[in-house]
Amino acid sequence: MIIRMLSLLSAMMLALLVQTVHLTADETCQSPYMPKITGQEQFVYVWTLGMEGVGDESDKLVTVDVRPGSKTYGKVINSHSVGGRHEAHHAGFTADRRYLWAGGLDTNNIYIYDVHSDPSKPKLEKTITTFVADTGGAVGPHTFYALPGRMMITALSNDKDNGGRTALVEYSNDGKFVATHWMPTDKDPRGAKIDKVADGYGYDVRALPRKNVMLSSSFTGWSNYMMDFGQMLKDAEAMKRFGQTVTLWDLHTRQPKQVFHVPGAPLEIRWAWGDNANYAFTSTALTSKLWLIEEDDKGQWKASAVADIGDPSKIPLPVDISISADDKTMWINTFMEGKTRLFDISDPHAPKQIYEKKIGNQINMVSQSWDGGRVYFTTSLLANWDKKGDDNDQFLKAYTWDGKDLKEQFAIDFVKQGLGRAHLMRFGSSELYTG
């Protein structure tokens, strides 16, 4: 009995240490399979959309130096243009964190960068140009999520009707196609229990390995995301074509298990990090609500709206969210307001806003360091949805957060620097690849 208790205590201590060594992360939104940066990030990679009239007008991967004390701190130290505008959107590391995969929602190109040989200067290693053919018609590679030995990629659309019906897709880390998993629909639920509707739409995907589940969300298809924003808002038929589902999958078998009804285009998904936390959040762009997806005491999964984000009647358009490492707070950006909000989510059933700050005329992405002390923001949502004229801010802004206030450390104007529309950020560090 004593040996068993001692073993148990040791297991708990070991689990805690394993957590420390293996599961801490630089930013809090990455795949749990990846090696992590402990402490200070050295570089911020910004996947940037080309912009007409700005620089070479091409999509590019921009590297910003964020090493404190560096002579080039807060400066762009490298930029690699891929030539042409592909609707650069999101990017993600492989599970060994040696490569960064970055996608184009319009041309469906996927650019694979070597970020380990010289983290200050990512090198384009390979370009995948056969995504649509490989996958059997999926369009718009969006989220790049690391699994051991391969990438799980969400798509946004399809080549049949350019609508929102789409798939999850797997590629090996070598860039070879592995499998397509079409989203469940009302006509073909693929074994999933459907709460109300299964629209077959996709957007983000995130996994909770401990429970062998992953969640995917739903946005809209190519015909909408490539349309001018103002034109789309006036198009009643277009406005019907937005996702209203979050799907729960068996992570190991890639089989959909349940489709929750989450109206209003649920976008980013973030699982809580705690050892026993069986819940995730998502926010809905059109209805401006924070949703909780959780497993209850009986082992049943359910989704419920738990908070408003801003004033939903004004459609502030919540976009990116970032959960803290201790699961106590969450940054939520609203694109139309250019505002970030901090929510206390220590009670996930009753989130409360505790802080807000206007960052610019428009903002989209937010990335925070593991200790929460540094928070970065960028601006672009989609080339045809970004604001126009003087409201079309395009920047990377870096802040420190002391628990009370965001203090700006530097700002890079991506238009003045001839770069383009700043979008997805990922952290890099040479310490990942050395002893």
Partner: protein
């Protein structure tokens, strides 16, 4: 590396070393922590061999309990597909007796589970965890004649400097000299003669090794690979998915697939 990160790393290393001795007991005890179940009855594994235990178990994954770190119902073998990821790479190696071999020779005619380790690994959540899991699978394999006859474990060291054939023989001794080994799945312990022989293997499997500042620790991302009889990688496992139930369910899924292909 910042001072905070450095002190955190040192503290973590000392603590891991201190409790590594009783890790195996901790791994066994983990199944007691499933919420709501309190003290559980003996698993089929523990009960196996006892009077009244079944002679043959069809789903070997059912022998292992659901645990807090793998808190889910294991998939039913054959109820899902394992797509081909890529061809499994080849390479020149040496077995524990010093005999030259290759990976493809080792895979020949078997469904294989490949793991990379180094024997002086002190990370209890790394190579020892992986090897402990493989021992669990090894020991139950004689509960299924089909599994034992058709599956092979292949463990390769990525430390050719320290892990020569004799070291590998010592590392695998309890399996190599298991009194029931003739009825269990084969288990091969291999090493490379040189870095030059090892590098193409590591590259092929996407295994990156670097030497830590202490010069003894080899940094790597823990991985296992399921390889079918045609020499194709069908799954890749990492930390967080090293659950014997999943590995066994996948092996059985491949066996079911083979049977279905023969019948069609």
């Amino acid at each position: 590396m910042t001072n905070y990160a450095r002190s955190t790393s040192l503290t973590a290393m000392v603590a891991i070393a201190a409790i590594a001795v009783i890790f195996v007991l901790a791994y066994r005890s983990w199944g007691d922590l499933v919420p709501g179940q309190g003290e559980r009855a003996a698993t089929p594994l523990e009960a196996a061999g006892q009077p009244g235990a079944p002679e043959r178990v069809d789903r070997l994954s059912a022998l292992f309990p659901r645990t807090q770190t793998h808190d889910f119902v294991a998939p039913i073998p054959g109820s899902y597909k394992l797509p081909v990821i890529k061809l499994a790479g080849d390479g020149k190696l040496t077995d524990h007796t010093g005999r030259a071999t290759t990976l493809h020779e080792e895979y020949e005619g078997n469904i294989s589970l490949l793991s990379f380790i180094y024997t002086s690994c002190r990370d209890a959540a790394g190579c020892p965890l992986a090897t402990g899991l493989l021992f669990d699978i090894f020991h139950v394999s004689n509960r299924s004649r089909q599994l034992a006859a058709n599956t092979k474990l292949v463990t390769v060291s990525f430390d050719p400097v320290r892990d020569d054939p004799q070291v590998m023989a010592t590392y695998g001794q309890s399996a190599l000299e298991d009194e029931d080994r003739e009825t269990k799945m084969a288990w091969r312990f291999l090493t490379a003669s040189s870095r030059a022989d090892l590098e193409p293997i590591l590259s092929s499997y996407g295994q990156t090794i670097s030497i830590a500042t202490d010069a003894d620790t080899l940094k790597h991302v823990l991985r296992m690979y399921l390889i079918d009889r045609q020499g194709r990688i069908r799954n890749v496992y990492g930390l967080g998915f090293l659950d014997p139930r999943l590995l066994l369910a996948d092996i059985e899924t491949l066996l079911i697939e083979e049977a279905q292909n023969k019948g069609s």
